[in-house]
């Protein structure tokens, strides 16, 4: 297909759909983070607010989990990367038969479901702990330790794969050359192999950090009564969602974007330096532009912009607008109540039964008379007669939302 046959339109339409599918949810999520409505949604738009970020940071369980996650992730990186490196080096030294066997053994943890790993980690360390007579206060029964142990078992295999891929491109003659030139094996390792593996160490550290941070299947078992970011998030979602999760999404998307842009700046600069086109290029040849597109400058600029946005956001006060909305809602409720009262009076006058379901339908724009609006369930709102809480997204209709429980 080509432009002449209209293929261009199809292709463009397809790409558009594709990107809408890919980014639509993210964009909607970002917008909902700034709507004061206590359920994440775009319409009706109530007020522009940054309060959900405050709600997010005020969530102790989530923040505690975040800290735990970070501690565990750093621990996993510190343990899994050296183990993975050692495994990859061992494999590269072995004969083909032994290598195949050992490879299978080392790679198995990736193939085992995380749930199984999680349970077996508890069982193993628990049994070990009991056999040495350790009490429940010992590290054998510590959620943080168990999570670290459980995650390391399979995450080090990821690290190993990264190192193996890099090692395959290493010319072992370089090590021999170093030895021949008088280097000790230790020097050859430090000065030749390790610098070659440098990029792989970086990516392995990044990969293991992310794998640890986002892990749920194993962690949900091994963390025991503690919680990590993922487990705290999961239990929060289970209890009904509010826009503070959207706020979290905004932060994560922001960090990802900054990371991606800085990385891209770094990659382009490296490329220009490597191919030696830098002095001739329009961007890298110009001293001002050169400093401007330096990854560090890019990072500082972006981080500064994010910081500014955060500061401005924290200064924003939506309480006036919110009060207005609340007033509106009260008025609407009052109106509904009045109508109700009128109807009841009329009914009493006529003393003839009417189909109850038809009545509110006419008065309210929604068939449920606004019952879905969690705001209408605020404690001081008198329940409308038709408001037998129907199938809300959460059985508690957002009653657990921390924002909802704030004193008015």
């Amino acid at each position: 297909m080509n432009r002449g046959t209209g293929g261009g339109f199809v292709a463009a339409g397809f790409s558009l759909l594709f990107f809408a599918f890919l980014f639509g949810p993210l964009i909607i999520m970002v917008i909902t983070a700034f709507n004061s409505s206590s359920f994440p949604r775009i319409t009706p738009w109530e007020c522009f607010t940054t309060d959900w970020f405050g709600v997010l940071f005020g969530d102790n369980r989530l923040m505690g989990g975040l800290l735990n996650s970070l501690v565990i992730a750093v621990g996993v990186v510190a343990i899994a990367v050296p183990i993975g490196l050692a495994g990859a080096l061992a494999l590269s030294e072995l004969g083909p038969k032994l290598r195949a066997t050992l490879y299978t053994v080392l790679i198995t943890p990736i193939l085992i479901p995380g749930v199984v790993l999680g349970i077996s980690t508890i069982v193993f360390w628990g049994a070990l702990g009991r056999s040495v007579g350790a009490g429940y206060g010992s590290f054998f029964f510590n959620g943080m330790f168990l999570t670290l142990a459980g995650q390391v078992t399979f995450i080090s295999a990821y690290a190993m794969l990264v190192f193996m891929a890099r090692l395959q491109r290493f010319d072992p003659l370089l090590t021999e050359a170093a030895l021949d030139l008088g280097a000790t094996p230790g020097q050859a390792f430090r000065k030749i192999l390790l610098p070659f593996l440098g990029p792989a160490i970086g990516s392995a550290a990044f990969l293991t950090f992310l794998a640890s941070f986002e892990n749920y299947n194993t962690t949900v078992f091994t963390i025991l009564s503690d919680s990590t970011f993922t487990t705290a998030l999961a239990s929060k979602v289970r209890l009904g969602t509010d826009p503070s999760l959207s706020a979290l999404a905004v932060i994560i998307i922001g960090i990802t974007l900054i990371g991606a842009i800085v990385h891209e700046a770094h990659a382009r600069r490296q490329e220009a330096l490597r191919t030696g086109t830098a002095p001739r290029s329009r961007v890298y040849g110009n001293p001002v532009l050169k400093t401007l597109v330096h990854p560090l400058t890019v990072f500082i600029l972006l981080a500064g912009a994010a910081g500014l946005a955060a500061y401005l956001g924290s200064q924003h006060d939506a309480s006036a607008c919110k009060a207005g909305i609340l007033e509106e809602k009260r008025a609407r409720q009052q109106q509904l109540l009045d109508e109700q009262r009128k109807r009841i009076e009329e009914q009493r006058k006529q003393a003839a039964p009417t189909a109850p379901s038809a009545a509110p339908g006419k008065a309210s724009p929604s068939p449920f008379g606004g019952a879905f609006n969690p705001g209408s369930l605020a404690p001081n709102a008198a329940p409308a007669p038709a408001a037998e809480p129907p199938k809300s997204n959460s059985p508690f209709g957002g009653a657990f939302n921390p924002g909802e429980l704030k004193p008015e």
């Binding site: 003659l173 370089l174 021999e176 050359a177 021949d180 030139l181 008088g182 280097a183 030696g276």
Partner: protein, 362 residues
């Protein structure tokens, strides 16, 4: 015996049941330019790695100076190896590469970079120290590898086909340069190649290897003119090999019954043959003439002719035996012999008779 001498004392190297080097026994003198010449896979690299200390001999000993090298690692030997693919460190600059041997010996940064500059001067590449290795041409890399190997002044420089990746012209240039460097620094050079031209032009002595066995160790001229085995005769230089049975031998002259009649040649190295021995007669293309000779005359059919600039190569068929004749280009077009039957002749003392054995490329 000086510290730069190398003795291979009945060295054999085996990988499992495969014998890569079989009973190598020779002495390389200090300051000598010594080449190992042999076809691919004959065990040259294996032998060199054994001298450098990367694999131990299965049998026998390697001595450098008077010291047995057993158990002494490659980093403790007074040898420097220039690898077949050079093995320059790609992440380091040229100067860092050259200074590496000094760095691992704890020489300070300033001193070692100064030495690197000196060496760059010596290999006629001043000012490239800051470049990355991949920014250099093949010939420049070559010289950098040599400079790196010379940085700590080893006693013995081992070179594993270092010129094989270069184009013809650069190769010729580097040959001269290597030879000049060797004479200037006075090291023992052990040079490996499968290119006989390289071995013959540069070396003081050449060892010809075949299937792990060292067949002959001699100066280049002797190797070329007086090969000791049929492999050496056929591997070094172009030659015609004619198979036959010994009919008789009178003093140094052997008469051979071959497919193309009775031919005579001299017995190599004063050998004496019994009548009926299977032998080869070797005659170089440039010794074969387009005229009858009273000692040896062969009639053959013209097949094709190739012009090579300084010479013409004529390919002929004599009753199923391929022959090759080389004529110096005199500047005038010779008589056109296309498709004709011609008579060839050669003198008996230009031909050598050697016992039946491996032929190169066969």
């Amino acid at each position: 015996m000086t510290s730069k001498d190398i003795v291979l004392d009945h060295v054999s190297i085996r990988f499992g049941h495969y014998t890569a080097v079989d009973n190598a026994h020779l002495k390389i003198k200090g300051g000598e330019f010594f080449s190992f010449l042999g076809p691919s896979g004959c065990g040259k690299t294996t032998l060199l790695r054994c001298i450098s200390g990367f694999n131990d001999p299965t049998e026998g000993r390697v001595l450098i100076g008077t010291q047995d090298m057993k158990g002494i690692g490659p980093n403790k030997r007074p040898t420097a190896l220039i690898f077949q693919n050079l093995a320059l460190f790609p992440l380091m600059s040229v100067a860092e590469n050259i200074a590496f041997p000094l760095e691992v010996r704890g020489v300070g940064k300033k001193d070692r970079l100064k030495r690197a500059d000196e060496l760059l001067e010596m290999i006629a590449l001043p000012g490239v120290g800051g470049k990355k290795v991949h920014e250099l041409s093949g010939g420049q890399r070559q010289r950098v590898a040599i400079a790196r190997a010379l940085a700590v002044e080893p006693d013995i420089l081992l070179l594993d086909e270092p010129l094989s990746a270069l184009d013809l012209k650069l190769r010729h240039h580097m040959r001269t340069e290597l030879r000049a460097i060797q004479q200037r620094v006075g090291l023992t050079f052990i040079y490996i190649t499968h290119d006989q031209g390289e071995a013959l032009t540069m070396s003081d002595r050449v060892a010809v290897m075949n299937k792990g066995v060292i067949e002959q160790v001699d100066p280049p001229e002797t190797i070329y003119n007086r090969p000791k085995t049929s492999f050496v005769a056929s591997f070094v230089g172009e030659t015609n090999a004619i198979e036959g049975k010994v009919a008789s031998q009178t003093e140094g002259v052997v008469a051979l019954d071959t497919q193309i009649g009775r031919l005579t040649g001299r017995a190599a190295g004063g050998r004496s043959y019994k009548s009926g021995d299977q032998c080869y007669l070797f005659i170089r293309p440039e010794q074969l003439k387009l005229s009858e000779n009273q000692e040896n005359t062969v009639s053959a059919q013209w097949i094709k002719e190739e012009f090579e600039g300084n010479s013409r190569q004529m390919f002929l068929d004599a009753k199923g035996v391929d022959l090759r004749l080389s004529r110096v280009n005199s500047g005038q077009s010779p008589e056109d012999l296309s498709g004709r039957s011609v008579s060839l002749g050669f003198a008996a003392d230009q031909a050598i008779v050697l016992p039946h054995g491996d032929l190169a490329g066969a």
